[in-house]
Symmetry: C2
Subunit: 189 residues, 2 copies
Amino acid sequence: MLSPARLALAAALLLVLRPPAPASAARPIVADKPVPSEATATARWLAAQNTWGVLSNVVSYSDGVPGEGHGIPYFYLTTLDPTARDALQDQRTSFTLSEFPLGTCGKIDPENPTCAKLTLTGKLKLVDLQSSEADLAKSALFTKHPEMKDWPKNHHFKIFKLEIENIFLIDWFGGPKPMSPSQYLEFGR
Amino acid sequence: MLSPARLALAAALLLVLRPPAPASAARPIVADKPVPSEATATARWLAAQNTWGVLSNVVSYSDGVPGEGHGIPYFYLTTLDPTARDALQDQRTSFTLSEFPLGTCGKIDPENPTCAKLTLTGKLKLVDLQSSEADLAKSALFTKHPEMKDWPKNHHFKIFKLEIENIFLIDWFGGPKPMSPSQYLEFGR
C-alpha cells in the first residue's frame, strides 16, 4: 500500500500534470444560467457572462463591469481593422454570442439548441470619447479585458456600441424566443 | 508543519475542488499551433481543430475526420433554422472561427491579434445526399459531433458546404495575412 507521503507526491504530481483550464479573459465564476423558459434572463445572462463574439470578425466586448451587465455591448476597435472601418461606412451589423465557450453547455454539441446562442442585430455606433457613456464603457471594457488599456495608443482605438434593433435567442428546442429590445434592455431594472 | 497525510488530503481536496475543464465537443488533444509566419498552415490548423463557428448564427462544422482536415467546412443544418433557410434564398455568407475557445491563446485577450481569427467568405451550397461527397461530409461531421446522427429525422437536416471565395486570417500583429482559396485548400497535399 502507498504511504501517505507517496500519496501526497502522487496527488501533487497529478495537480501539476493536469492541463491548465483555458484562460477566460479575466472573468471569475460564471453565475448560474437561468432556466430556458426565462428567455430574457437567459439573453442578458449570456451577454453579461461572455467576453467575446462575432461582429464580422472575432471581437471582445463588455456589457458592464463584472456583475453589473446592462445588456448593451461595448467594443474597443481600431480602424486598422476592417470591422471598425466597415462600421463607419455602413453601421448595420449583427453580433453573435455562443454559450459554448463558457463551459456551461456540458457535453452537449455547440449546435444543440439547449446550448444558448444570441444574435443582436442593429447599428454599430461610435461613442463620443468625451461623454459620460464613454467613461462607463471604458470601465466595462477594461475590467473584463485588462490588457486593452495597454493597447498601442497609435492604433487609435475607439469605443463603439451596438444599438440593438432585433434579438434572436435560441436556448431550447422549439425555435427562437420572441423578445423586444426594450424587454431585453429593461430586464432586471 | 503539515503531516504527509494532511498534505495528501489537501492535495486531493484541491483536485476535487478544481473546476472541470469545459467540454470540447468530442475532440482529443489539440495539435500544435503552427508559427505565425506559416499563415496557410495556421488557417488550416484552426479549421481542423475547431468544431464550431459563426455562420449568421452559431453552428457546428467539420472539415474532415479528426486528424484529416481538408479545409472545406461542412455543416449539418435544418431548414427549421433561418441560417439554412436564408442560404437557400441567398448563398452568399461568411463563416468565422476563433482560436480562443481552443484554449491555446493562453492568457491573451480574445481580440488580441496573436489569438487567431479566420473568416471564410463564399457561398453556402447544399450537398446532394446521394453523392460520395455527402458520405465524406457525414463521416467528417458525425466523428466530431457524435450527437448529430441522433438528431430528429423529422427536422430534415441537410448537409451544406462552404465554397470558399475569400480568406481573412489574423494570427499576429500587422494585419490580415494574404492567402488565396487555392493556397488554403491545397495546403499539405
